[in-house]
């Protein structure tokens, strides 16, 4: 081994050790435990059950429902974050140099801890003192401040809890998109203008294709984060009313902590991990790759 190789290994070793102990080993343990009947209280006592935990998880109504809810939540949040964030970035880029203050204020939610965002939105939406409904009455959109029970109606709660997520992360989308927009060569847009392309055509045929890698990053990073959400929803509803806002991560937490079923929680955790990796890979191939090809 050359001196250089030895140097590389020495510099790498502590990080490898930390990631091995704190990520690789736990993930291995997660997968291992998923084949056993294990209790959270007595994790050293394991009983081999093969694929039983996976079977139980996939046939449990509550588990499947929480998985579907995670999809609902993530798609809804991602759609609005992306739409608002991208529009904000376009506005900022149209304002160019004048947008400094706009961007500064818009970045504010980015610095707010998720737990505060969750509490804040609960406070804005909560029955009878939630100011949002009073604002809607003032605007004439609803007649009575009790008209929409954002957090206590089982039909809409999964969407209501995503407002905090949308509020918190639109600015991330906006800032990343803005950085992407400023990197688009001005002469390309100018050339399209000279060729007679109107603003919409320039956007569709020049801006959007060039923004593809940035869009891929935003969709992957935000999609993965939205699917993982725990704290924002937990703080608003703890998964209620009657599990109507219980997403997959919360379902795993509940089974491990409340019901002490470590084996089944591990099986669900393993499934969660596999699905996330597949989705991220697909998103990477479908959105990112074509631009390089």
């Amino acid at each position: 081994m050359s001196g250089e190789d030895r140097f590389v290994l020495c510099m790498l070793a502590p990080a490898v050790a930390i990631l091995g102990l704190l990520v690789a080993y736990p993930v291995g343990l997660l997968v291992f435990d998923s084949f056993f009947k294990v209790d959270t209280i007595t994790p050293h006592m394991r009983e081999w059950v093969g694929l039983q935990n996976y079977f139980d998880a996939l046939t449990s109504k509550r588990v499947v429902e929480s998985a579907l809810r995670t999809v609902q939540y993530s798609v809804f949040a991602l759609f609005f974050e992306f739409t608002f964030g991208f529009c904000a970035a376009l506005l900022f880029s149209a304002l160019a140099g004048q947008s400094r203050w706009h961007r500064t204020i818009f970045a504010l939610p980015l610095m707010v801890p998720p737990i505060v965002a969750g509490l804040l939105w609960r406070f804005l939406l909560v029955g009878n003192i939630g100011i949002l409904n009073y604002g809607l009455v003032r605007l004439g959109l609803i007649s009575d401040p009790e008209a929409i029970a954002w957090l206590s109606s089982e039909d809409i709660v999964i969407y209501s809890v995503s407002f905090a997520d949308i509020w918190l992360t639109t600015s991330f989308v906006a800032l990343v998109s803005y950085a992407g927009l400023t990197n688009i060569p001005k002469d390309l847009l100018e050339a399209a203008r000279i060729d007679g392309a109107n603003a919409f055509k320039r956007f569709w045929h020049v801006t959007l294709p060039l923004m593809r890698p940035v869009i891929a990053v935003v969709v992957i990073v935000r999609g993965v984060d939205a699917a993982k959400t725990f704290d924002l929803i937990w703080i608003q509803t703890q998964g209620g009313p009657s599990h109507a806002s219980e997403v997959f991560s919360m379902n795993i937490y509940q089974r491990m902590v409340r019901f002490g079923d470590l084996g089944e929680a591990s099986a669900s955790g393993t499934l969660f991990l596999i699905v996330m990796m597949i989705l991220a890979t697909v998103a990477y191939w479908k959105i990112w790759r074509p631009v390089h090809a």
Partner: protein, 278 residues
């Protein structure tokens, strides 16, 4: 001769749209600030008012006088500082060799760090709970630091590699010519140049740990509770103590907001950089 610019209608519309957008995103937080300085009795008045009729610091006095919140702040601060120190001390050297001395092993290593982002923390939380339990570190500060480090190291690695990619190779070569060993070149030449990048990464790592909720919920009980857990309890254990909650939330979020605004340029740069690279 210059003509006065014509009134630009689309310019006005763009400005107005941007203003509406920005204000609607700032309003919720401003409402939080306004609520925190209302007298506790006014917080839940019906109908709610946006601005306080009287300014009062009663809510702040209440949360600071309670025994749990100040202690939780100390816990949060300790955990975040230790997590940052531990994560940076392993991630900075690793990111340096991964970007400047490319090998198959360093590529695999960076890829592994990237994949770690996909791991849902609840999935990692299940076995981390067991690991800390078997090490006897459940409900201890070192245990929580280890849990936070599992998320902080990949983040620090990705940010630092983005920063290291920006430094010229000649820098290290020149140091080597002058007779430095590889490690001396790293310590005496490269590190001082990277202070800015390291500072941004440290701040990000700190904020990630400061904001972390799920591991704290899983791995702590009375003694080592962090601030987000105690703040969350304001809306369950003590009923709906909205006044105290808003004050605690302001105290908890304002330091980060102030520091971030002060260093805004570097941080937004680092964030978008890290995101696009990662």
């Amino acid at each position: 001769m210059r003509r006065a610019p014509p009134i630009n209608l689309s310019g006005i519309l763009i400005n107005a749209a941007a203003l509406v957008l920005v204000l609607s995103y700032a309003l919720p937080y401003i409402y939080l600030l306004m609520t925190s300085i209302k007298p506790a009795a006014d917080v839940q008045q019906i109908p709610p008012s946006f601005f306080p009729a009287v300014v009062s610091f009663e809510n702040f006095r209440e949360v600071l006088r309670s025994s749990t919140l100040p202690r939780a702040f100390v816990n949060s601060l300790t955990v975040a500082v230790l997590t940052t120190a531990l994560s940076l001390s392993v991630a900075v050297p690793a990111a340096y060799v991964a970007t400047q001395y490319r090998r198959r092993i360093t590529t695999i290593f960076l890829l592994f760090a990237l994949v770690t982002r996909m791991v849902p923390s609840v999935a990692l939380g299940v076995p981390l709970f067991q690991l800390l339990k078997s090490l006897g570190l459940l409900d201890t500060i070192p245990g929580l630091v280890l849990a936070h480090t599992s998320a902080a190291v990949p983040l620090a690695l990705l940010l630092m590699s983005a920063f290291f990619e920006g430094i010229p190779e000649e820098l290290e070569e020149a140091a080597r010519m002058d007779g430095c060993t590889r490690f001396q070149a790293f310590r005496k030449i490269v590190l001082p140049v990277m202070t800015g990048g390291i500072a941004v990464t440290a701040l990000f790592t700190f904020i990630t740990s400061w904001n972390e909720f799920l591991y704290a919920l899983l791995l702590t009980s009375e003694a080592t509770k962090t601030a987000p857990i105690v703040i969350a309890e304001y809306n369950s254990v003590y009923g709906l103590a909205w006044g105290a909650m808003t004050a605690a939330a302001v105290l908890y979020s304002l330091p980060v907001i102030i520091v971030t605004l002060a260093l805004q340029k570097q941080i937004v740069g680092g964030l978008t950089f890290g995101a696009v690279k990662g």
